[in-house]
Every structure is written in C-alpha cells, then in structure tokens.
Symmetry: D3
Subunit: 284 residues, 6 copies
Amino acid sequence: MREQTFLEAFSEELIPGRPVLIGCPLDATSTFRSGSAEGPRAIRLASESIESYSPFLDRDLVDFPFCDFGDLPSSGGAVDLYLERLRREVLRVVRQGALPLIIGGEHTVTLPAVRALRHFHPELVVLHVDAHSDLRERYEGSFVNHATVIRRVADLVGPQGLIQLGIRAGTREEYRWMRANSTLLQWEPGDEARLLRRIGPRPVYLTLDLDVLDPACLTGTGNPEAGGWFYEDMERLYRATDRMNLVAADVVELSPGLDPSGASSVTAAKIVRELLLILGNGDR
Amino acid sequence: MREQTFLEAFSEELIPGRPVLIGCPLDATSTFRSGSAEGPRAIRLASESIESYSPFLDRDLVDFPFCDFGDLPSSGGAVDLYLERLRREVLRVVRQGALPLIIGGEHTVTLPAVRALRHFHPELVVLHVDAHSDLRERYEGSFVNHATVIRRVADLVGPQGLIQLGIRAGTREEYRWMRANSTLLQWEPGDEARLLRRIGPRPVYLTLDLDVLDPACLTGTGNPEAGGWFYEDMERLYRATDRMNLVAADVVELSPGLDPSGASSVTAAKIVRELLLILGNGDR
Amino acid sequence: MREQTFLEAFSEELIPGRPVLIGCPLDATSTFRSGSAEGPRAIRLASESIESYSPFLDRDLVDFPFCDFGDLPSSGGAVDLYLERLRREVLRVVRQGALPLIIGGEHTVTLPAVRALRHFHPELVVLHVDAHSDLRERYEGSFVNHATVIRRVADLVGPQGLIQLGIRAGTREEYRWMRANSTLLQWEPGDEARLLRRIGPRPVYLTLDLDVLDPACLTGTGNPEAGGWFYEDMERLYRATDRMNLVAADVVELSPGLDPSGASSVTAAKIVRELLLILGNGDR
Amino acid sequence: MREQTFLEAFSEELIPGRPVLIGCPLDATSTFRSGSAEGPRAIRLASESIESYSPFLDRDLVDFPFCDFGDLPSSGGAVDLYLERLRREVLRVVRQGALPLIIGGEHTVTLPAVRALRHFHPELVVLHVDAHSDLRERYEGSFVNHATVIRRVADLVGPQGLIQLGIRAGTREEYRWMRANSTLLQWEPGDEARLLRRIGPRPVYLTLDLDVLDPACLTGTGNPEAGGWFYEDMERLYRATDRMNLVAADVVELSPGLDPSGASSVTAAKIVRELLLILGNGDR
Amino acid sequence: MREQTFLEAFSEELIPGRPVLIGCPLDATSTFRSGSAEGPRAIRLASESIESYSPFLDRDLVDFPFCDFGDLPSSGGAVDLYLERLRREVLRVVRQGALPLIIGGEHTVTLPAVRALRHFHPELVVLHVDAHSDLRERYEGSFVNHATVIRRVADLVGPQGLIQLGIRAGTREEYRWMRANSTLLQWEPGDEARLLRRIGPRPVYLTLDLDVLDPACLTGTGNPEAGGWFYEDMERLYRATDRMNLVAADVVELSPGLDPSGASSVTAAKIVRELLLILGNGDR
Amino acid sequence: MREQTFLEAFSEELIPGRPVLIGCPLDATSTFRSGSAEGPRAIRLASESIESYSPFLDRDLVDFPFCDFGDLPSSGGAVDLYLERLRREVLRVVRQGALPLIIGGEHTVTLPAVRALRHFHPELVVLHVDAHSDLRERYEGSFVNHATVIRRVADLVGPQGLIQLGIRAGTREEYRWMRANSTLLQWEPGDEARLLRRIGPRPVYLTLDLDVLDPACLTGTGNPEAGGWFYEDMERLYRATDRMNLVAADVVELSPGLDPSGASSVTAAKIVRELLLILGNGDR
C-alpha cells in the first residue's frame, strides 16, 4: 500500500545534505495514556492543510528539498529490536550526509538517534525541550523508557552536553540532579543569547517533546502539564536554532486521538515544516 | 418548524437603523475539513449560556434591539445561486437602513455582502481579520471560493480599500501581494491608533474569520493555525471598531463539530454579542 | 504530495477489465450534517486495518488486481462543474473497459456516473440501496442534489430501470411514487431470487448509500435512520450481486467525523473490499 | 429567546383532544453519569433530520396536529418543587382533554405525571418499558429518584396496575418483587396478544426509558445495558400501543452528550414522532 | 467497592492539623450543561499522571500528609439534604482541627462549607475566584443554586467579608452590586500586595470555580467564558494564598466529559496538589 | 495510591478456590490503533454502574466471593519481562487453588497465562473467541505479539487443544491452517452441544477477545470487524462455559478511548461479572 508523505516531499530516496523525515510510530512504554503511535500518520495527514511557505522564516519548502522515508516498520512489540533498527537507520542516513528529522511516537526514540549521531559528532550537544525532565535513573524496573530516556542520553553526552528548556515537572530527585548539573535554562524573551553562547559552535541535536507546549496550545499529548510554552516561545526557539549548527532533531509525543479537533496535529505539522526549513537552510 | 433565535432578539422583522442577524449555513467549497454549515445554529444555541450584558462594553442587549432573520435557506448545492440570493437579501436590508451581521458558514459569503454594501457606500473599507490571506487568484479551477474570496473583494474595493489583520499563513505569492499593496497591518497593543487613522471616516465592513484566534482559544474551526490572537487582541478590536463607522460585519468559519466541548461556539456567541452591541450603538 | 491508496492497489494506471477506485470527496448539498467529503480518505486509511483476503467470498485482492485513481480534485465549490468532470472521467474509464467503483462523498455523484454508464449500457438497471428514497422532484429550489438524485436517475433509466432496497424514510409523495412504480422490493432472507429474476441479464449499476445500514452498525453518516440493515443483510447483497452482471458501483455518504471510534470507516473499507472482489471476479 | 419546536408543531397553545409535547430537562438524581437534561433540546434539534411522514404507520404529522409547549422551566435545583409543578401542568393539560407526551430528562418525571393522570383515570395501567426495574424501596436515603420511581408508581396504581417489558437489570430484591407480582412480561415476537389481553380496555400510560434499546441502537444514555431491544422490538410496541387506549406517555433518559454521532437523538426523535402519531390517531 | 484516592493520600482517617479532601459529586442545579458530578472521580484518576513534587512550591506531598475522605455520598436528588450533610461533615472536620479541601461538583457546595467554617472563624473572609459573579438574588424561583451561591455567602459574611477575582460575566444588576460593594479586585501582575493588605490576618476560605481559567486552559467546564486567566495568573494566586491564613478551600465546576483530551482534569489535579501543599504548609 | 476494585471484590488477598481478577494494562504490540492499556481501569470504573446480581444466571456476586489483585505493574516497555512476570503470577495463583481471570490489555497476555496453566492441567483446552484468527507464524519480524499469539498457544497445546469461535478475519494462510486443523467451529443457536461434546471433561482456558462482538455492540476496540456476535451469542457462550470445567479465562482488547459513550466498558464489565459468577460457581 502506498502511504501519504509530508507536504511537498521531493522523493523517498535520500538526498545528501538534505533533511530526511523518519516516522517512528513507537508507543510501547507509556504508563498513563497511550496513543503516540498515531503521531507520524497524523502529522503527514495534517500537512495537507498547511502551506509549504513559512511567513515566519520567509522560506518555502519548494526551495528546500527533503525526502520522506515513511515509517520505520513496527517490530511487533520487541522494543529493543526497534530501537536498534532505528540506530542503524540513522547511522546510514548520517553517513550519506543527510539530516534526520524523526517524528514520534514516544520519547524513547531519542536514545538510539543520539547514539548514532555521537558516532559522527563526538561534541554533540542535546537540546532537550520538554515539560518533563525524563531523568529518572530507572522506572518500573526498566532502564530505557520514556521516563528515563534523557538520563540515558546524559550518560552518553555527559551533563555538560545536555541543555534543557521548558521543564516544569519531575520528581524531587530529578530537580536536584538538574540543579546540581545546571542543565535547566530559563526561556523568557531575552534568554536566547545565553543559550547560543552556552552551545557555541558545537553540533546540536534538538529533541522536542510536544508537551512543552501548554495544554492550551496542544491538547493531543499523553501527559499534559499546565503552565507551559505558547507558540511565540516556539518561534523564539526557531530563531535560535536557525543560528545553531543543528544536525538532527526529533518531534515526539503527539497523541492525535486525544484531540478530536485535530488542531494539535496541524500545529505539530507546522512545527515539522519550520524544522525542515531550518535543517535544510544551507546558509547555516 | 420554529427555530431558535440569538439571545434576546427583539423580532424577526427588520428594525430600521438596527442590526439584523443573518445566518448563512453555507459550507460548499471547503477543501480540508468541512463543518461550518453548523455554525449559525451552534451560535444561537450557545447564546443561551451567556448574558445579554457585556461588562467589557458596559452595554446590555436589552437596550440595543436587533432582529434575527434566521438562516438564508439552502439552495440545495447551487453555490452561485446562494451567493446571489444573499447579495439581494443584504441589498434589501441595507436599503431599509438596517445593519447586517452575517454569521457563517464559510468565508465565501463575504463577497456578495461586500458587493451589496458597495452599492450604498462607494468608499467602503473592508477590514479583514483572519489567519489566512485568502488572496489566491484562482483555486482548484474556481474563482470564487474560501481561498480566493478576499482577492475578489480586493477586485471590488481596490487594494487601498482593504486592510488585513492577524494574517499568518498564505502562499509566497499571496505574501508578495500583501507586501506590494501594504494591506497587512500589525496588531500589537498600541497599533489601534494607526488602524483608525488609516481608515478615517470611511464606512467599514468587518469580516472576521474566527480562525484569527489561536487554536488554543477556538479549536472549532476547519483550518487552525498556531500563533494567533488571544481574546485580549479581540477586545482591542472591539474598542477600535467601536470608534469606526461600522456599517456591516460577518463572523465566519465556526465548525462546531470539531470542538466537542462546545467552548468555541460559546466564544463565537460572545463575539457576536459584542458586535451587535457595537453595531447597535447609536452614538457612533 | 503522495496520497495513500486502498489496500494492495496494483497501480494508479487503469487496467482494462479491472475495477478502478475513484474518490469523490464532494459534500456540497447536505442540509442536516455535513462531513462526507472526508469519506474517501477515511476509507483508504481504514483499509490498513483489514486483510486483503475475504473469508466470506474466499477470494484475495492479491489475485484480483485493481487500480486506485485517487480523488477527483475539488472544483472549489462549483458543483455542476464537478459532476460534469466526474461524468467525463467515468466515460473515459468505461471506454477502456475498466469497472468504476466510486467512493463518496455525497449521493449526488450517482447521477453523472449513471449518465456515463448509460452511454455504453442502454439497458442499465440501477440498484439503489439506501435508507432514504431520494426521490424528490425538487429540493430547496434545486433539481440536482442528495435528496433528488434518484428521481433524476429515474428520469434517465425510467422507473422500470430502477430497483430500490432498504428504503425506510421519505415523504408521503415519495412513497406514493414508489408504490405506483413498484420500485421498492423487500429484502428479507429468501428475497434474493426475486431480485435476480427481476434484473435478469441486464447490466447493473449498484448505488449503495451506507445509511442503509442500521445506525447500530454504522453511526458515521449524516442521516442515520433506525430500523435498518445489519451486516448479514449486506452479505446477502454480496451474494446476489456476485450473480449479476455488475458493471459499476458507488459507496456513498460515509461521514467519518461523526464516528470517533473509526469503526464506521473500517466497515466501509470492508464493503469496498468485497465490492472490488465482486467487480473483479472474471467468472461473472 | 425563541426556542425550537419539534417538527411541524401546529402551535404552542394546547389543542383539545390532541397530543401536547412537554419537555422536562431534569437531571438531578443521576448517580453514574448525568446528561439527560440535554434530552429535550437534542430531540427537537434532531427532528430537523426526519420526515413528518411515517412509512411504518402510513400517517403524516401534517394530518395529526399537536402542540409543543417547550420545556417546563428549571426550578434551580429544587427537585420536589419541579415535580410538583409538572404534576400541576399535566393536570391542567388533561383537564382540557389533551394527551401529554413528556420528553425527559430523567425517569423521575413519571411519578408526578402518573399522579395527575390517575386523577382522571382511576383504572390507569402503567406500561413500563426499560432495561432496569427501578423498583427499589429506597435509594441513597431518598424515596423519590430514578432508581425508585417505578416502585413509587406501583404504590399508586398497585402491582396489578403495572406491566413491565424489557427489564434485564436489577437487584435480587427487585427481581423477587417482580416475580412475586408477575409484573414482568416477555417481549418476543408473538407476545403482543398476551399484553393486549392483560391490559384490556383500561387507559394506559406508557413510560419508555430509552435504555430499553440495546446500547448498539442507542449509545446516548447514562446506564447502557447489553442484551436489549433492537428497533424491530420497538416497532412491535408501536403496533401494540396503537391498539390500546393510550392516554399519555413519556420518553426519558436520552443523554445526547454521550453519543457524539448524534444518532441516538435522531432515533429518539423518530420514536417521539411515532408516539405522537399513535396518541393523535383519532380511530383509537 | 474500594475507590481510588488522590495521589499519596496518607489515610482515609482524619489527621488533626492536616488537609482533608472531600469529594462532592453534586450536579443538580445546572441550567446549561451538566457533568460536574464526574469532577471528583476525574481529579483522583488524573492525579496518577502528576508527580507528588511541586517545582513551583518546592514541596513534596510526601512531606505534607493529608487524608482523602472519598465522596460525600449522593442523597438521591434531595439537594437540601445533601448540603446539610456537607455542612455537618465540614463542622466535624474543622472541630478536629483539620483543613477541608472540597472538590466539586457544582458551586453550590460553597454555601454549607462557609456556614460551617463561620462557626469557628467569625472573621472569615471568602475569596471568590470565578468567571461569573454568582450574585443573583434569586434564580428560576430558587434561592440556593449555582447562580445565587455567592450572594447567599455574602448574606452570611457581609459584602466586606467577600473578595472577588477573575469575574468577567454577570447581569447588569450583579455588576452594580459588585461596584456598590467594591468586592471585585483586579488581578494583574502587581495586584497581589493590595489583595494581601485587604485581607490582613483574617482567616480565609478560598472558593475556586475552575472556569476562572480561560477556556483555552480548561475546556472541561459547563460555562466557558473567553478572556480569562492563564495558568500564570493561577501561580500568582498560589503565591498570595501561601501568605494568607488559609483555613479551607473548594475547587468546583470541573465537567470532565466536556474535554475528551482529559487535559482539564490533569490541570485540576495539579491545582488540587498545589492547594494541598499550601493548606498543609505548617509555616503559615 | 489506593486504586479502585471491581464491584464487590471481597479482598485483595487470594482466596483458595475462588476467582481472582488480574489486570494487565499491556498495549505494546498493536499496529493499527492502540489504547487497550486503559482497559482494566475502565472495566473497574464501569463496574460502578452495574448490579452485583445477574438475572441471566440468577446469581449474585455477594454469594460468590472473589478477589481483585489490581494491575500487574508495567515493566516500562520490556514486553518479554512483562509476559514472564505474568506467567509467574498466574503460576503462584493457580498453585494456591485460585482461578485467574485476566483483564487486558492486548491479546498477547494469553500466552504466558496458558503456559502457566498447562503446568497444572496438561490436558488444557484453549477456547479462543475472537473476530481474528491471530494465527500468523510471524508478524513484522516478531514471534510473540497480538497477531501470532494463538499460533504460539497452538504450539503449546497442539491444534487438537485449540477450539475457535467467532473468527471472521484472517489471511488466506490462516484460514488454510484453520481448515486443515478443524479448529474453527460455527456458533449458531444449536451449536452448543457440539462444542460441549468436543471439549468433554477437559479443563478449559477461555480467551475472549472483545472484538468478537459486532462493532455495533462494542465499538471500543482497536480492530473492529463487521458481521460479528450480538450479545445473545455471548449469552449462549455463558450457558455453555457454565457446563464446562472452566479453570481460567481472559477478556482482552477493550480500548475504552475509542468509545466516548463509555458503553463498551460497561458491556465489558458485565461480561467480567458473568465470568466471575461462572468461574466462582462451586457446582461445576
């Protein structure tokens, strides 16, 4: 069966130096409410309702070719196998010079992606944008899941390779860890310069958990947390990442079934469009 | 069958010099998601849950009589016929000195309404408040539909007779047209004076596509677009239009079925109440 | 943008002698609740959850190639134009020996399809399966819409070329017409033979309004009518049409947004699969 | 504000000898899920989508005038006051020779209605059609509520004045009471004659809790109970009541918000239409 | 049956000096849309998805024991009886030194709670946070319901014992009353000091109608009113109440069924957690 | 946190010889639509709305004590670990003479349960009631998931230890396997005797995938398949299993989020109640 692609995807074949969209409909470790497996499909479908032109960036996807690989096929419940396959896929993509943009699915996909990227970019900084710190050492007897994924990432890149924005929920222990390691930055208007200074010329992996947005802006996510970002905070993030050496990104935790209006999926599609335009911008 | 009216509608008969509500349940040209045909009914039903008194304007509809005509009956799919009937209806209403407030339905209804108003007000300014520019020259082989309607309006009133607020989506061509013709104004706090100066004493037709509001504020619309207005931006619009020579208005693109909570319809009803109080305010 | 196809569609190019799926996302003349424009997309998406093998027919779509044309593009609200384009498309398809299966969208699409088919099959019988008679002479000032479409079809094929099943709602005048013309047959177990006798060897166009199913079986339709068919009545229809000279068909009036569970779309996809297997069965 | 009426309601003024529709949006004693207060409004709105002609009865409401009183206004939470006002209203209606058809709202409204009817018809039989027996002596410290209402009715008319159909849930005590008093009859095809014999020429009050229908047929009700009636069982009830001396009826417990498809409300509207045609049939 | 508790509730038995959660699933007097009876259950269920630690307050519920009484059982529709039972329950709780936090349910529960508190705190100030003034003298013939409850509270504590925040809807008469009695304060950043001065050392009862939040932030409430608070306004309220002598509180009017995403319930659970941490903070 | 139990659960401690409810909120291998992890919670919550007395069986749960263990805690995404923990839990339960009734969650849980039961009952027959055959040899590279689970069960108990009812979907290969092994029986009225003869005195494990019910009866499941059972077919199953040596059972694949009316959960709760009454019936 032929499946839908995102907006004006140029091809299904990888284009060196260009962004490549990889769908990861994984939703295996959620504990409160599931549904993120529908994310990639919903984002592609919602892309029908948005333009290829971004007034904010004044760029048009027709000038920034990218490819859409479709979804990494399910491994029938074998999560470890799935994550390993994703790691290899990202390795293959980066080896050919392309820039992966992963759309989830649950947050766990960040770990194999970072692992693959680190192979090429030992100085990689992970910019973690999320409502939740995801820093548990262990969760329900498992070391790799949506609640521990950023702690595992920190094991790889070190606390100094991790920067967090938007966090507003966690256990007391997670907050102690963030304070001890100074990973959590503020994101009020004006904080952009500090972020850019801290990162410098290092290559950046952006992991964007959509629940960083306030539930007002995006209700279709499994763990809504009041007091979050509005879309203008996201626009400040676009502007900042556009000035970084962004080499890969993921956009995770859309649960479209929780938002019957479909607006969450349209907003996620718009965010994906902006990130494709930022990743694909050769001037960087 | 007797149908419901909006709030304390004084009569179904036209009252000279007073606002008249005309429902237009047209939803024929939508391309992504339909549902706006339910708009007029949902707004009338939701009006049950709001008061006739507006604390913001400190006016009460009991002091500002208006009439509710009900809905312009469907033409069974013949869109041209429908638009022509609406044009005649608006002509008839304005000829008797009443002030039409159209509730949609899709945005296409603006064209026949402006055509009728222009007959009486050759200097008419159209104030277009929307997330989308709706300025395509042609869309899917047709010249008159929800994506071209404001371009057709500009054909009538000229670019100098068009002012746009809230636009944040369009094709590159539409943005070029807006820049070339300077139709798009900013709407930050403080921009009100500039808008009023630009309009001056000219008669104003306000066309309000509800998707100008951020999806956070109004999820029940077919083409949600993140990064939009919050209700306080709407309140600044009330204050500004209250100082204009407003002669007619429309409120379009509510798709109530997309918001199961019903809150979008209640917000639309509140906006209609405020516009009735502004249109009906004899001091203007 | 690449769009999804139905199940194992062999190609997008027409295959002579084989069924061809044509999506018609038209929803322009509905008067109570809209939403059928989403039908074709929802059916293709739901086809992901069903098998290509039908235990009931003991046939597998992998042995019965068909093509999926995608959707006839919108004409931006110009209904007449849309219907005329559909007529030409069906003409073109039939001229090449293919067997059209139209998925709606609203019921009005039946008229241009029958018009095109009559060109090749002057003896065409229209088998109309529906909860509503759709036999009004005129509806809200228009002659061609979802409430008059079968009357227009009868104008083409004559009452003797029309057979109706499942009807359980209509005006008194429509019931008088059906009684006068003996178009409405019963569909209890055992009625199959009478239907086959009445049709004989004549070529058959099947128009299936999904609301013939009881709202229990299919809630996602704009005009649900209690007291309808259960799926076993549909299975008896499969068995009967499999013995007819079926040359074309349509499946209309799915409004997926009205059924948040998605079950209606899955049922519609299953019905489309069975009809593809019946149309594609060379033994007929 | 003017509110909507049911179908072709002839007037808001009572017509002697004719049915009168009284809405009772009471929803005060529900314990699991509320929402039946929306019932009357949803039934009137859904009546837009059905015809005034009933093929099943071969009668048209245009020949059977009735009036629609609108809703008995809320008493702001004072349930006793509300029930007392309903009793007086029904008294007033019956005194003028009209035939009340109450649409709920919760089941408790049956008690004051029966109380009023008994005043004129000492031999009144109550025909109770429901999934639940509603026969508790007392429920959560209260004697009058949705779980005790039929026991209170039995206190008035005696067990011999009560006949129950469709019951499939209750406590062991309630089932013992039903067995001891032989109030529960079967309702398989063929059971109609026994019911008619048991009632004889006595005047009948029909109380129809919509949850007698299987949840497949009507999901919009607070206490769904699998294993219930299908619409054909309801048609057998129409045929039977059409041969009784039916003097009043109620249709209760529609919770439209629980069925986002709206099909439950359309089915309820169809049932109300059939009962209006049965009540209004002068040949009885 | 064992029912769920809120987060890490220490016990079901009252702990002197500690907060006690009392659920009041009352929803008897609503006039537009019901559903608040589901509130307490939805808040407890949603508490599964939040942490016991509040980063905003830097306190953890594991250090602030509280008890969860469960729900005050229904009185089967007898509202007066229910309110009286609540009054006695609150009396009993306060007599033992505990701090009640009531979760509704409809707003009417505030009256018996204030009545009980006044017994111990004659100087009680009621801090009323709401979108609606709830100050009608009488509503639909009744003196005690959701639309009059704060007027009845004012009868008890006097206008000088009432302070209102967030109000943006009411009748003209209610607005006159608020202006005459200066009960309505502004709540812009910086207004906190004025509020604290006005209250001084007096004991405070906080009644929080969740519809004070903008519908963007909380769609799951029966009477949404645009132009409301965002979560940061709530955080300023936490900070202010943390410096008051808060002795009891209620959180009312969550209608979880209106928000299918569940985000409203999660936000309500977060608010309840913060209020438990404020009530339970011994330093106050 | 204290969690809710099913109906009148006697204790959380195992009672020898009595049924024990074990929730398995596992939803890791679904490929079309997820959501079954919410199943156990939804069933317990819905049990509030049903009685402890079953009129069909004329038994009351108050006479048939059972215990509710709550849910087997998540293993944070490690599916193999989860299934192994379930196997040990079932072993422990059966060792003490109790009768496990597992509520899912996805169908995969059947495998470890059967594995544990086989330890005690080498002659175990598995009665598989489902719309789908679940007999794939392998699915998306994995051997143990919802699409292969019954094939794995057949590997354990042999084709002669497997009996299937209700199957109406599968691949051609699965159908060939069923025909070759004669595992699929018909389930029309009258087929009960044949089933009982085929099983004889052997101990029985019943695995009930709720999608065996027609989507009309239960919309809240991930893979609805038209043409299924109605509730009366389920009642015939109760009657038959009541005459078997039933030693354990599972009820899987409820996805409550897909049915916003909640009726699916109530029906599932009713089925669980009947199975508890059948398992707990000492006369067997």
